[in-house]
Symmetry: C2
Subunit: 191 residues, 2 copies
């Protein structure tokens, strides 16, 4: 189960067997079922989640009750309510399982200790966060400036494995349009 | 000039005098004038920029020629075209000085060496990037779900020093509305 995580980390930093053992014992295994709630406001956010298999979704519900999908996290992705995880404040984001999923979870407290014991892990998370920033810039620009057809093509490119695994209304929410409008766009694209 | 940078870094990590000296010699001073172009597509992106004084703006021009303001970088902020800086690909974002500005700049090559020589700096950048991710999530949610009035109030809270320093059409672009609509909103709010 931890092999997938170590493989991810090894892409960016070289660790000793002792360090890898320490990581393995620090991340705990958690199995969640389809539709299971992982984080829900106003929970206190305890864990960051690495997805070994399955898929989580992170979304926000605004004051008008509209659901905005921020992120899909299939195999190899991380997800948490980052402000809550880092600062201890109440969650603002919902995180749920879209499929039965195998997760590796770590608390802030354990992660902080791990970062002290294995300073190289800072390097790994620096790179992970760099990639997240670039993906978010892209996402923001998509919302601000790109037509829905193009946004959908980029979604498929970013998440090639998810097109038929995720409910269509969630893809619509991720693209920032209504499910009805998204259906029309897809019909137009298939012509 | 480097005191402002060291002060930022000291907020998060403790360095030896030798390490601080190494940082000082690795970041080079650059003065730019108001309206000076710092990065322009299709430049190759060489530097990350720490703003000591003044203010830079980072924006994107979409296929229809519309300008989307991604970020203001006043004193204490960092800005670069991150994908270009990290991967060596051509810039997609414009970065310009809104005021005469004092910058400290560092190339990817020098930064990579510095991160090897001072591993604790990975810790600093990990925290810097964490904060950037949270700010971007906030920004994305603002665009997706918040009324312009509320977005403007959040802009003022995030950048209290910029309200009267930055051209109003750029603030409108940052908020994702036309300058005309932004004027109407402000007039309504002042009543």
């Amino acid at each position: 189960m931890h092999a997938a995580l170590l493989q991810e980390i090894r892409k960016h930093v070289n660790l000793t067997p002792e360090e890898e053992e320490l990581i393995t014992t620090s991340f705990r295994y958690k199995k969640v079922r389809r539709n299971q709630v992982v984080v829900q406001p106003p929970d206190i956010v305890i864990y960051d989640h690495f997805v070994v298999s399955g898929c989580l979704v992170q979304y926000y519900i605004d004051d008008n009750g509209i659901q905005h999908t921020l992120l899909f996290a299939p195999e190899g992705w991380w997800t948490t309510d980052l402000p809550g995880f880092l600062t201890g404040q109440e969650a603002r984001y919902h995180i749920e399982a879209l499929e039965d999923s195998d997760l590796l979870i770590i608390s802030k407290q354990v992660l902080d200790k791990l970062l002290v014991k294995i300073p190289l892990l800072n390097n790994f998370f620096r790179i992970l966060y760099q990639n997240a920033i670039m993906a978010q810039e892209e996402r923001l620009l998509n919302v601000l400036s790109t037509k829905v057809e193009e946004r959908y093509l980029r979604f498929i490119k970013k998440y090639p494995q998810l097109q038929n695994r995720v409910p269509q209304y969630l893809i619509a929410s991720y693209l920032g349009v209504t499910p009805e409008f998204f259906s029309k766009v897809k019909a137009r694209m298939h012509k």
